[in-house]
Each structure stands twice: as C-alpha cells, then as structure tokens.
C-alpha cells in the first residue's frame, strides 16, 4: 500500500503540474469533459421533473395569462427593435460621414445553464452548447440584463463558462455617461465588481452604467456590465476605490445568449440583435 500510494501521489503531482503549466493535456480533457457532462445531465433530472410538475399543475387560465403577458412583452420588444434598426442605420451613415469604420455587429444564440461546477475557488457554470454549435473559448455570454460570463473550456455539446464575478476575471468597461474607461474585476462575491485603475480625479459617480468598451477584442462594445454602487476617493491615493453591481442575474440566470462575431455564424438557429 505504502509504495503504491507514494507512486500514485508522485504521478498525480506530475499530472497536476503538467496540466497547470502546459496545454498538451487539453484534448484529453475535452474527451473527459464529454463523458462527465452526463453527470450534470443526471443531476438536473430532479429539477427538470419538478419544473414539469409545476408546469403541469398550472391551470389553463394561468397559462393563457402567461402567454398574453409574453406576447405583449414581445410586442414591446419588437417595437424597440424597429427603432433600433433605424438608429443603427443612422449610426452607420454618421460613422461613414466621419470616415469611421462601421461598428461590428454580432449574432446571438440562445443557450441554457445546466449546472454549477462544484469548485469553491472559481465561479464556473456549464451550458448546453459546445463545439457542435461552434462555441469557442473566450466567447462572451450575456443574459437579458447584461454580460454574464465568458467561455473557458469547450466540449462537444457543453461548455464551461467563467462568470465575470470570478476573482480571476477582468473585463474592460466604459461609463455610458462620461466615456471613462476602466477594468471591471471580479471579487468572488456574485453582487460586486471592483473597477480598477480609475484616477481619483476621474468623472465617475454612483449610478453610472458601465458597458463593455470593446478593448481587448474579446467582448464586443456596448453590452451593459454593471452599475456603480460606491466611489471612494482618498486624499493622497492615486486611484479611486470604485465598486459596481453586475446587471446580469449572476445567481438566477438560466436562459442566456452566446455572442458570436458578425462573420462567425453559429451552427444553429440565431438572431441578430
């Protein structure tokens, strides 16, 4: 037992170091993730059964009421979309007059969060789309309110995404009001981001909405990220301490949207915003 345990420990340490420092095990990991994705499917069974029961127990009147509400909400959104199309055309014309390049458009694909990775050190969830839907590493994920996460590992029919509130995640942002740029860093708390590298003299106020700035090229420009909740300027300090609350529903989001670049159409049904 002693020798075997020692040998196993040494092999595992070597594996751990190899996987931490190099990427040559990635293909093997993708194969493994394809297998363990079934465990997430198994874990979701009770919730799916419960949802089906709740759905089945709803009365016909409640369902009709729900459909009516969704139809009216859809109508409002369609109206806003029409306005958006006109604004986009006008924006393109104005940018052409200024000799600026047209703003990049993006396609969206609906996806569902199917599990939360049981890792206390990182904030990772799994979605039910993968390589078969042309999902790629670094791809942004948004919900109805704002930016939620980015893809970090892709299997055939599932992918792991890292929430923007993870302590290792950083995201370039810009204030809608003052156009000031900063970096939104995760804190580990689902309701808090820290906006770093803003000088104490920066024009930023509580309530300012921060959107993706597009710098870094990973997140497209203009997606809402967070709202500033506190600004602390200390005398003698170079940078202000700024906290913001993510707009996306970090704990509750279930149905989300994968953002594809314009010339990278998803493999399945998609829609342009």
């Amino acid at each position: 037992m002693g020798v075997r345990a020692l040998a196993a420990t040494l092999v595992l340490i070597a594996l751990f170091l190899a996987d931490s420092r190099a990427s040559w095990l990635d293909d093997l990991k993708v194969t493994g993730v394809n297998v363990v994705a079934n465990i997430y499917g198994l874990a979701a069974i009770p919730e799916n059964v419960w949802s089906s029961l709740v759905q089945a127990s709803k009365s016909e009147d409640a369902l009709i009421d729900q459909i009516e509400k969704l139809e009216s909400a859809n109508l409002v959104l369609q109206g806003r979309l029409q306005q958006m199309v006109a604004l986009r055309a006008e924006n393109t014309r104005l940018r052409a007059l200024l000799n600026s390049a047209p703003r990049e458009r993006s396609d969206l694909m609906a996806t569902e969060i199917v599990g939360v990775a049981p890792n206390p050190n990182r904030q990772i969830v799994t979605i039910n789309q993968g390589k078969h839907a042309r999902v790629f590493v670094g791809q942004p994920l948004v919900d109805a309110e704002g930016v939620l996460a980015q893809v970090i590992e892709v299997a055939d029919d599932s992918a792991y995404v890292l929430l923007i509130t993870d302590p290792t995640h950083s995201l370039p942002v810009q204030s809608v009001r003052s156009s000031i740029r900063g970096i939104a860093e995760g804190t580990g708390a689902r309701d808090r981001l820290q906006i770093k590298y803003l000088a104490t003299t920066t024009d930023i106020e509580v309530g300012d909405v921060l959107v993706t700035s597009g710098l870094g090229g990973r997140f497209p420009m203009g997606y809402p990220v967070a709202s500033v909740t506190s600004v602390d300027r200390q005398d003698g300090e170079r940078f202000a301490t700024v906290w913001a609350e993510p707009l996306a529903q970090m704990n509750r989001a279930r149905y989300t949207l994968l953002v594809f670049p314009e010339n990278f159409a998803p493999a399945r049904a998609s829609s342009s915003p």
Binding site: M1, I13, S20, A43, T168
Partner: protein, 160 residues
C-alpha cells in the same frame, strides 16, 4: 465481484451528484465533502478491495467537472484513502462519536492539502474554510455510515 464494483462505483456517482445538488441548493460548494466520506467508508469497510483506483478515478472525474487541473482533487482524495486504510482496523472498533472525530481530522487534513494546491494554482479565494468542511463532514458521517453500511449488508458485500 463485478456487481460489488458496480455498487461502489454507483455510490461514488451518488457522491458526485450530492456535491452538485448541495452546491445548487446551498450555493456553497464542498460544505460537506461527500466523495471523501464515501471513499472513507469503503476503504474502512473493504480495505483490500476499495483503494487507490476508485479514489483516483473519482478525483479525476471531479477535476474534469470543476475545470481544476488534472490531479488536483485526486491528490486530495488520496490523502483520505491512505489515512482511511491506515486506520481502518482501529476505526471499525470505535464508537460513532470517536469515528466522527477521526473523520474531522482526516477530511480537515485533506482540505488543507486542497488549500495548498489551490494556492499553488493561483486561486485567490478558498471557501469554505477547511475546518468548516471537516466539521460538517464529521456531522454527516453517522448518516453516511448507516446508509452505506445498510447498502453493503443488503448487497452481501464482504471483504473477502
């Protein structure tokens, strides 16, 4: 033989499911280390049949499920397996309360290794604390012990 292996494997899959469900229900992962408890039970009950292979396989599956570097959880669970096998004969003779104390020590030690590996991997946030996980795991041990013992006896699984 094959059926016994399938029973052990099924309990380990159940451990992984319990890990996912407790994360979904409580919003905190690894408050109770279900896999460690299940592995600990089997290495105490069947030390000659359940050991490193089951432990490492479970650990690697958990690594893949959590996007941790391969070997991370396997190393943590190897600590549980090795200490479980070292004290298996003594632990069988103890009363449940004393067993809980030992479970606290073993799971606590394993989670200190977890914290060390997390720091080595560059993770800045380690939660919950190793002692909290060890405490809750020790509290759950009597339930896990009764359930797994009932399963083992109902399936007629013996060491030889």
């Amino acid at each position: 033989m094959v059926r016994d292996a399938a029973v052990v494997a099924l309990t380990l899959v159940m451990g992984l499911l319990l890990t996912l469900w407790s994360q979904a229900l409580l919003g905190v992962s690894q408050l109770v280390d279900w896999l460690a408890l299940i592995i600990l039970y089997w290495v105490i009950a069947l030390p000659t049949r359940v050991g490193l292979i089951y432990t490492i396989t479970s650990g690697l599956v958990l690594d893949l499920m959590t996007t941790a570097p391969l070997g991370y959880h396997a190393l943590v669970l190897v600590v549980v397996c090795v200490f479980g096998q070292l004290i298996s004969l003594r632990m069988r003779k103890m009363d449940v309360l004393s067993q809980c104390g030992l479970v606290f020590l073993i799971v606590g030690l394993a989670h200190f290794v977890d914290t060390f590996l997390a720091t080595l991997s560059g993770f800045t946030q380690v939660a919950p604390s190793p002692l909290l996980t060890a405490f809750f795991s020790a509290c759950i041990w009597p339930v896990a012990l009764i359930a797994l013992r009932f399963l083992r006896r109902s399936q007629g699984m013996t060491e030889w």
